[in-house]
Amino acid sequence: MKQLGIVGQSVRRRDGIGHVTGQTQFVDDVTYPNMLWLRMVRSPAARGLIRRIDTSRAEAYPGVATVVTWKDVPNNWYTILCLIGVEPNDEPVLAQEEVMWQGEPIAAVVAETETIAREAAALVRVDIEPLPAVRDVFEALAPGAPIIKKWGTNTFMYEGMPMRRVRFGDVDKAFAEADHIIEGSYQVTPYEHAPLETQACVVKPEPDGRLTIHSNTQALYFTMDNTAIILKVPSHRLHMIGGTVGGGFGGKVDVVTEPVTAIAAMKTGRPVKWRWTRAEEFQASSTSGGWRMEYTDGVKNDGRIIARKVRALHDAGAYHRHSPYGVTKHSANLQGPYYIPNVWVDAYCVYTNRQPASALRGFGVTPASFAAEVQMDRIANTVGLDPWAIRFINAYRNGQTKAIRKKVEDATLIETLQAAAKLVNHPLPEKFLAMHSNDWKEA
């Protein structure tokens, strides 16, 4: 075992002195002379067709510099994971012909003060013809459900299929050989990251044509690339300043403030600040996604899981954001750190008319781990083994192949269980103490 030099030590942060003296500069602490303030007009409807956006009264309001709508966005349709090949572009920067969730951005009012921007935002008139909304994954997949996505399904399409599939071994044959068929239904609700610092962005147009962008994104270069695509400018024109994030937890990886703030700055030629209220952070920032997971496991009397069949439904909300990727991660991880020779997975990335879901601390994987581990306890109870035993019996070993065809090469479950048992003074039978992650040999 390598000796660890950092674990167990209290390490002083590089930015620690700034933090403890209150001098660390967060985005909302950035201010420029002549700076304008942005306030977003958001959709009051969960789903509907936009018949008219009338900004004239807001534009005429004293102190308003401009109102930004989709017409001002050079590339209005985007999806942030286009950078890794996710398509199609399904989300407008500002709503264009329809709204897909309550809180969707429609028009940005830019004014001399934040108060004026807020007052003028109330004067923007948006006529929306309501359409039936889909609010739940089961509802979205039910026959006759309103189809809310342009490509004709309410699911992300993975290589032409409406779900991410994993097929490994022969699940049905193994179910026939199993002593127990053990089912479990699990669900995880969406939840909000609630960072103490809300989303914020300040953009200053420079005389040389560049834009200085102060961002609290967790993914600065990701944001730069997407902003460049949306603005149709080369990325060297964007001087991104970031790195200080007042809590992110996955809630600040979507590119939701920089493009609109940049357009407002370009349109007015003045610095612009956009900071979200706490209410906006709850109602309009992405959340984690909700999950519904249905497990069927085939288990032998000795505790071995010989087959697992899972149908998982992920509530992505209205747009892709990071969800298609999250569902793929989910599919790869719902086996847990266990060896299961027959696996069958259908995992759906489902669209509904709720605020978009996105990244949140291990998104896709944490719901899989939750379901898989509760299922382990259920299996242990059913076959009459203790929860430690069921995990040792099924623990994966180096050299084995997981359902996603990846060879295990970093297994530590057995050693972790042994160490954990020792820490809590839980006696383990000799046969489990003798096990290790390298004791598996191909038959």
Partner: protein, 157 residues
């Protein structure tokens, strides 16, 4: 609008404030005291905590007009990078700040606690911190830092 005068970190401060303008907004937007953070605007997170005559208050809920004649202390008045207060040193040494957004409020509350009660129990520390949120969930190092500071100060300030 009215003129309000108060003492800010030991120096006189004057601001022209609206009827419903909060002390937080006056400190941040007019006086550029950016250590006072805007987290929720509802008194729920404690990021904007300042001391008024030595007592911690959430400055987002206090009308700035009510600061007239009072003594306001922010974390800037507690210590600086070249002259850290023992509380700040203890927060630094104990990794009691992650993203840093709640830190000034935490230290400000802790300052009031140790001023009144130089040797608090853990329960008293928890009670003092009960109005301050840390979403990075770094509470344990924060509590340890306050205990460490109390030990270092040994009843002093």
């Amino acid at each position: 609008m009215r003129m309000v005068s108060f003492t800010l970190n030991g120096k006189p401060a004057v601001a022209l404030v609206g009827l419903v303008e909060s002390l937080r907004d006056v400190l941040r937007e007019q006086l550029h005291v950016h250590s006072v953070k805007a987290g929720c605007g509802q008194g729920g997170c404690g990021s904007c905590t300042v001391l008024m005559d030595g007592e911690p208050i959430v400055s987002c809920l206090l009308s700035a007009a009510l600061a007239e004649g009072r003594e306001i202390t922010t974390v800037d008045g507690i210590g600086t990078p070249t002259s850290l207060h023992p509380l700040q040193q203890a927060f630094y040494d104990n990794f009691a700040a992650q993203c840093g957004f709640c830190t000034a409020g935490m230290i400000t509350v802790a300052k009031a606690l140790l001023d009144h009660n130089p040797h608090p129990t853990r329960a008293e520390i928890l009670e003092a911190l009960s109005g301050n949120l840390c979403r990075c969930t770094g509470y344990l190092p924060i509590i340890r830092a306050i205990e460490d500071a109390a030990a270092r100060m040994d009843g002093g300030r």
